[in-house]
Amino acid sequence: MSMMAGAGRGLRRVILGATTAWLLAFTLLPVLIVVAVSLSEPRLGAPPFTPLFEWGAGFWPVFNGTIASYLTVASDSLYVAAFVSSLRIAATSAMITLVIAYPMAYAIARASDRARFVLLMLVILPFWTSFLIRTYAWTGLLNTNGLINNTLINLGVISQPLTLLHTEFAVHLGIVYSYLPFMVLPIYAVLERMDWLLIEAAQDLGSRPYRAFFRVTLPLSLPGAFAGWLLVFIPALGEFIIPDLLGGPDTLMLGRVLWTEFFNNRDWPVASALAVVLLLVVLLSALLLVKALQRRDAAP
């Protein structure tokens, strides 16, 4: 018996050791390398950055780190503008998503068990269907000779096609469309667990339905709404495909600027510095998210 338990423990150690090694090598180490490259200098050649440590004449290797890339990121108006507009676009899109998702989540939570499963499936399904293709689908609709403009012209609503594609409006639309499921699910989760007898009690006591909603339902569901808002805000911050396909040349977002810096300008240290800034913002938002989820789970 003890020999078998020993074998079990040995197996457990191997599994734990192997997965820990994988996580350290493929999750932690890459992040540390990004930090290291952000402190190095760009140069021509492969790789296009200077080594952080150099073995010179002395005993210890010389540390060559510089914060020049961070100073560039902090002082260049392009990066500052990209940072500000990423925050702005992500925040407003998350807000619009909330307004659309809330009534959906509410209606699903009030549906029968059978209908609920189907309605939830229908919310989740598009999320797993190719992100690239769903963003691409909008380019065909929003084009100057696309379906929306053609329909509006045929109906006589407009005479000249509207510029819809390659605008900040289209980026908002793309984010709302892509991340709607992220918002519906957490709001649904709080509404579903809500004690509806409480609301009925408020109504029985003479509270009008809307009043009961604003006084009881809405406050109780706020933690879920906040969690949903962050679940849209966080991925939207670093989004690349949506601003690239739907945004205009002047739509600046961090993910897209990082991409350009890396692929077009080939400035790896600046791209890495942008990545570190983006990572810090995302981790900070994620901490808020964890707090929001804990509050949601603690709610009655």
């Binding site: 999750t27 549906a111 499936m121 269907t129 190719s130 769903r134 380019t139 065909g140 084009n143 990572l279």
Partner: protein
């Protein structure tokens, strides 16, 4: 639907639902309809035909890219669930508390980190590895490694959710009856986990099949996955052939995900803690 949604409120709620689902589904439905449009002008309907599907079958570059993507997705999904299963067990057994939280943070980090960051950090890792140990060669291998690493996070979540629902008494019963830990795992735990493992595999597979950002960073000469080819084409504008390809992908992925969801759902019925 009994007793609720009556009167004015029901109209408001039903129209909210109708609007929401129309918003979610119309763009894709329109794309699918127009993939059967014979006209070269994507926005003008002429008549129905399978012309663009036929053109797709003759597009060798697209077919090669699709084949490469399928192979990368299959390999990375398999590695993802193997690691994800191990990580789910580790998270359940790991002590002390801070070690468990640290492991969890590391395992789930790819879920919140933006794709551009995963792509850049993985590429830099491969560049540094290439400089120091001469491996791996950038191309299909590096894409598969990067995909396995973020697929693992999703697989861990799915498998762990199932693992926490399992009844520990089943393990104990097997041990009392004299089964070795390995035999218990193979005969008792693994079959109960199977639906979650399949679901995790399908999710990792779809994520890999859809990824353009990470693959663009870590790829090397000659390794163009399907999303990379599609992305460079759609950047230039709408094309009827891409509409046809998109339809094929959407239908394929929808079937895979529906299967995964139904399997997880049916799996939840057995072996559950009372």
């Amino acid at each position: 639907m009994t007793g609720f949604m009556t009167g004015r409120r029901s109209v408001t709620l039903l129209s909210a639902l109708a609007f929401g689902y129309a918003f979610l589904y119309l763009p894709i439905v329109i794309l699918i309809i127009y993939s059967f449009n014979d006209s070269r002008l994507v926005t003008v309907w002429s008549h129905a035909s399978l012309r663009w599907y036929a053109a797709l079958l003759e597009n060798q570059q697209m077919l090669d890219a699709a084949w490469l993507s399928l192979r990368i997705a299959a390999v990375s999904a398999t590695v993802s669930v193997a690691l994800g299963t191990a990580a789910a067990f580790a998270l359940q057994r790991l002590k002390p508390f801070f070690a468990q939280r640290g492991y969890e943070a590391l395992a789930l980090m790819p879920l919140i980190v933006p794709e551009v960051l995963i792509g850049l950090s993985m590429l830099l890792l491969f560049v540094v590895l290439g400089e120091t140990i001469g491996w791996p060669q950038r191309g299909a291998t590096t894409i598969a490694l990067a995909h396995a690493s973020f697929g693992m996070a999703y697989a861990t979540v799915v498998i762990r959710a199932r693992l926490t629902q399992l009844d520990p008494a089943l393990d104990e019963a097997a041990a009392i009856l004299g089964a070795t830990p390995w035999r218990t795992f193979r005969r008792v735990t693994l079959p109960l986990l199977a639906p979650a493992i399949v679901a995790g595999w399908l999710l990792s597979f779809t994520l890999s099949l859809d990824d353009v950002v990470v693959a663009s960073f870590v790829t090397g000469p000659g390794a163009s996955t399907l999303p990379i080819v599609v992305f460079s084409s759609v950047r230039l504008g709408v094309s009827p052939q891409i509409n046809a390809l998109a339809t094929v992908i959407v239908v394929l992925v929808a079937v895979l995900i529906l299967t995964a969801t139904l399997m997880t759902r049916s799996g939840q019925r057995g072996g559950r803690r009372a």
